[in-house]
Subunit: 408 residues, 2 copies
């Protein structure tokens, strides 16, 4: 089996033509015309290699290849077909066109598999058009709530329901999983970080998807004249913010990987050169693969924040509005992918995912694994999103080898 | 001599009626109708106690009382008549109505002074209507530049020059000082900080007005995914900002008063919860009464900032756009005010001013002193600006005692 970089390049350019922008990026939002067109294009593509391809009720596209054992047992791969606004050519769709190339070459090299193989082009993951994420994978598992999308609209005021109906799709008629026959799911995706690049690896085998806690924190001090208010009489929120960030990031660095801690947003009032700021709101985003570690660490940081604020006579409100548990990948699938990589002589490493993926929805219900390829400079959600063709090739080969082990 | 709190209250309410808002605050911008009305009102008020009152070319109002010695030697007091938008009832005008009450009671108690006395209602200090400050005092000394205001406009697009002409005023015809006959100037003002309140003092005698250095600082790092970018691969500008603020404020506190250091403004990009910020711009405002100390301290902080940024692989640009030297008050005037306070049994302390005042323009040319009264909670530039009547009384008595020593 030899997947050529030309072939990869060709199919990537073909799929990227749906929603391609002058920037070189892609905008392909859920239930848009580009989205419908690419799904129809993929249906034909799947059928061209002898798969049966059908949409489910909400618009997930499932390419099905029957195995020789005539059983229900199915091995699945795939990812999401939607993009962010002005996104790149890999986030999401790599898992679909890469899965297609893997299956095509397995068929050409080894013929019909024993077990069924499915490639799933999931309707939506990004939440870029409507304020809802994982619409594709959640529907596959019967986990999506009709009520959550019934009244949401996109930024042009178009209702979710109307956009869905426009292409002949509708809510799932039951809450049952459409994947009950799937014995294992493997998703190929770009890293969206730079760990593989920095360690000069071509393939990452994911052990866990991180848990996340996100916070909004509000500080209320006292806005005061920057010249006439002596340091000891200030209730300076920016000093409290700075102490919190400095102390917390130092602690996070001591703990080491895979812990990441980010203070991404800060707004202060009155935000002017000659007034001590009296009000600030900022965010904190903390992630780790170990749920109890994440809880323990953030609880400690919460206590630190309260202490620092109190010492500076500043009021603090801490609102933890996101608390997602980490999701481990299946141990057997992990070692199976690792064995495949070893056998193929691929340049791989075991790693965690710091971002969320469809696999985190699927993994609690089906044995799931993920394969990463490097993102050059860690850039993603951007037309500059890029992976060397040689690395894409290794990623697709790892996926093919994994599917071979599972389905043949 | 006994100045009653009723009398203070009465004249304060009278002068505050010019530009009074429903908020209880005052908006009285340079060359507005309210401004012209209050200047005309003050002219009559000055004349009512036997002073000659006249405008200079640009609209400063000077009330003149001739002394018995028939010399040119004059003792002056006063402050600015303009306010910020929605300002309080004391900032600026206290020095005018307080000066008026002091002179009125001196006349009633001791009759004609030996030296001439002048009360100056200065046209402008705040820079609230046009982007120019100290228009009043700078013109008194022949220091204002016509070119600096020739093309400036207010936020409604009205030209400075047109606003000035509207009330019959025009540029000064020469660059000579109108205060060459003035032997000493004493300004009464509110503190606009809370040092007097915290130390339970009624009167502050100013030794120095602080020097100021103001900076814009820009940090360029790299915006990265908050989940997928490990801590060691980040170029996190918010971490650099936090380290700079923490380290600098700790250093400033170690140095102690009168050093003040403020990081009042911070804007980051992209400013969102799940992205490590890649760009930040912030301000630093540093003040001290000792010019060489101020220079040495800020130079050290500049070096610290560069080091912290470099250690984090973040680019830094430091722009020092304001560098004002401290202005000492005249030693003889200071001790003269102190003797007067002692003799009157007033509850005073010696202190510096952390804010700028007309006196800093005047002091390099004329022997100058300043008297502060407390600002409750340090609030200023706000309708809540407040000083207890008893403290106003002590401040006006200190001013009267000083003028008596100088002019009688």
């Amino acid at each position: 089996m030899n997947i050529s970089t030309n072939e990869i390049s060709e199919i990537m350019n073909w799929i990227s033509s749906y929603g391609l922008l002058e920037t070189g990026g892609i905008t392909r939002l859920l239930y848009s015309q580009e989205w419908m067109d690419v799904q129809n294009g993929l249906k034909e593509k799947f059928e061209s290699i002898g798969m049966k391809a059908n949409f489910d009720e909400i618009g997930n596209l499932i390419g099905h290849l029957s195995g020789s054992e005539n059983s229900e047992e199915t091995i699945a791969t795939g990812s999401h077909i939607d993009t962010v606004v002005n996104g790149g050519k890999l986030d999401g769709q790599l898992g679909i066109f890469g899965g297609f190339l893997a299956v095509k070459h397995l068929l050409e090299t080894y013929g019909q598999p024993k077990k069924n193989i499915e490639i799933i082009s999931m309707a939506e993951e990004e939440g870029s058009r409507f304020p809802y994420v994982f619409w594709g994978s959640k529907n596959l598992l019967g986990l999506a709530n009709k009520e959550d999308v019934l009244n949401i609209t996109d930024q042009d005021g178009i209702k979710f329901v109307d956009a869905m109906h426009k292409h002949g799709f509708d809510f799932k008629s039951d809450n049952k999983s459409s994947l009950s026959h799937v014995k294992a799911f493997v998703e190929l995706h770009i890293e969206q970080g730079n760990a593989l690049e920095m360690e000069e690896k071509s393939v990452g085998i994911i052990t866990d998807i991180v848990g996340q806690r996100r916070y909004n924190i509000t500080l209320k001090g006292e806005a005061n004249h920057a010249g006439t208010t002596l340091m000891e009489y200030r209730k300076d929120v920016i000093q409290v913010f700075a102490n919190i960030v400095t102390e917390s990031i130092n602690k996070a660095k001591e703990k080491g990987n895979p812990l990441v801690l980010t203070f991404g947003k800060i707004n202060v009032k009155p935000n002017t050169v000659n007034v001590v700021p009296g009000f600030a709101e900022f965010t904190m985003d903390c992630r780790h693969t170990d749920g109890s570690f994440l809880k323990e660490f953030t609880t400690e940081i919460e206590e630190d924040m309260k202490r620092i604020a109190k010492d500076a006579n500043v009021e603090i409100e801490i609102d933890r509005w996101m608390d997602e548990e980490p999701v481990p990948m299946d141990k057997n699938v992990i070692s199976m992918i690792e064995e495949a990589c070893k056998a193929k002589g691929l340049n791989y490493k075991l790693m965690h995912s710091g971002a969320g993926h469809d696999s985190q929805i699927i993994a609690p219900h089906i044995k799931t694994g993920m394969i990463f390829v490097p993102s050059v400079k860690g850039i993603s959600h951007n037309p500059k999103e890029f992976t060397e063709l040689e690395d894409l090739k290794q990623g697709i080969e790892a996926l093919a080898a994994a599917i071979y082990k599972l389905a043949y």
